[in-house]
Symmetry: C2
Subunit: 270 residues, 2 copies
């Protein structure tokens, strides 16, 4: 199997995302290898060695995706026996022309604690945890968004993703069977914050499957129960005109991107 290296003097996240997106266009499997924080010439020479060994082992030239600010380190990596993709660089000169200013690369400008929005993201993560699963209704004033839905419809992972990636404060409130006497009504606490509500729903068979992994053969996991709860919340969303999304076929990344696009909610971090 051919090896892909992702190398940087930072986290190498940019190299990974770009490389991964490019390689995903091909129906081929790769052996992925990330080497972050290559900050000295000595470390760079060791990396060259790793790339050479991979070439010898596999008989195929590795693909090398790298973003490196330090010029000396970059020069060394650019001489690897792999097929080198210094994918940011070729866009720099044309962009300098467009912007009319020279680039001014600084180490760790992305994905570092020096981003001005860093503390906001951590605060948002703490908020999501403190307001998970309807645990803290008194803090809803602070919420940017309140995700609602039945148990295991994707609220918690989505609220954590919104916090970590975008610095958005997302509370989440679960509708449980207890809320569903004759007919599910919007609890008074939520009604006060109706403009912040966003509903999630999910296909009954998928919910049944997820809940069964958690509590097999329980009433909670039964397909009847799943159907009943989903019917109730979907009716509520429609009746109260709460925007909602069926999460069945979407990843957390997709759900989050769709929520931002639909609500116009502004992220705090780019």
């Amino acid at each position: 199997m051919r090896t892909a290296f992702y190398i940087s003097d930072g986290t190498a996240i940019t190299a990974e995302v770009f490389g991964h997106a490019l390689l995903s266009l091909f129906p081929v499997s790769f052996n992925h290898n990330t080497i972050p924080f290559v900050e000295t010439e000595e470390q760079a020479h060791k990396v060259l060695q790793q790339i050479s060994e991979s070439f010898q082992d596999t008989g195929e030239r590795p693909l090398v995706f790298y973003t490196i600010v330090n010029v000396d380190v970059r020069k060394i990596i650019s001489k690897s026996v792999g097929i080198n993709y210094n994918f940011l660089d070729q866009f720099v000169a044309p962009l300098e022309k467009v912007l009319g200013v020279p680039s001014k690369p600084e180490k760790h400008r992305t994905h570092s604690i020096h981003e001005t929005t860093y503390d906001i993201r951590i605060e948002a993560v703490n908020y999501a945890l403190a307001n998970d699963d309807g645990s803290n209704l008194k803090d809803y004033d602070e919420a940017d968004i309140i995700l609602t839905g039945v148990s295991r419809s994707g609220k918690t992972p989505t609220s954590l993703y919104l916090a970590l990636q975008y610095g958005i404060k997302a509370a989440n409130y679960p509708f449980t069977e207890e809320d569903m006497g004759d007919m599910l009504k919007l609890p008074p606490t939520l009604r006060r914050y109706k403009h912040k509500l966003f509903g999630l729903t999910i296909a009954a068979d998928r919910l049944h499957q997820i809940r069964s992994e958690r509590r097999a053969n329980s009433k909670y996991a039964s397909i009847q129960q799943c159907r009943m709860e989903l019917r109730e919340v979907e009716n509520l969303y429609r009746k109260e005109k709460i925007p909602f999304l069926n999460s069945t076929k979407y990843s957390i990344e997709e759900i989050s991107a769709k929520i931002l696009a639909e609500t116009g909610l502004k992220r705090r971090k780019y």
Copy 2:
């Protein structure tokens, strides 16, 4: 201020990461604008309109970063009045040559629920939540790593990031004052899993600041208490040869990347 658009028929995460990395090389501020899920020609024409309006409003041609699989949609976006960066495309032909196979773009190949590792990531998030803050010692058999440290040294956000991004099951265990009678010793539960432990520490003044935001003027937040707790845990890490990292100057992304690099822990998702 010049506007940057990130456009895709998927989440637009790849376009954002690439564009952001490129723009961060310049000492210039931008107005960022992400438009995900542009899947029809009609939607594409609306986007062209937005780009034109931005040009009219600002008098500067917007920068347009896009990754679009659908050929017809892509053609439309490529005709925008902005400065267009179809940054993946120019690498495709050379890579086809290297790999000896034609590319086979499929919509939503990255960042989607169809990634084979998707369920693993969600399971890891649930694991991190269930094993946050020393809450579930009985599940440590399942842990890939157990983060330790004093309260507010970065354990929880890091364990969530490891789960969401890499599908790694990270438990976290807080050393509290109660553990620190005469001298902090490794609790028996943790000793059994010593090979999985990774310690976090942090500068006392930074910890003091973080804790003060939470509980101002408390003993918990006092600089004396912070110093004492940190001295105890660092002594423990050294005595027990637990690998550890000072998180003061690092983001969650950097801490996570450093943990993976130092421990050799394999991520479940690339």
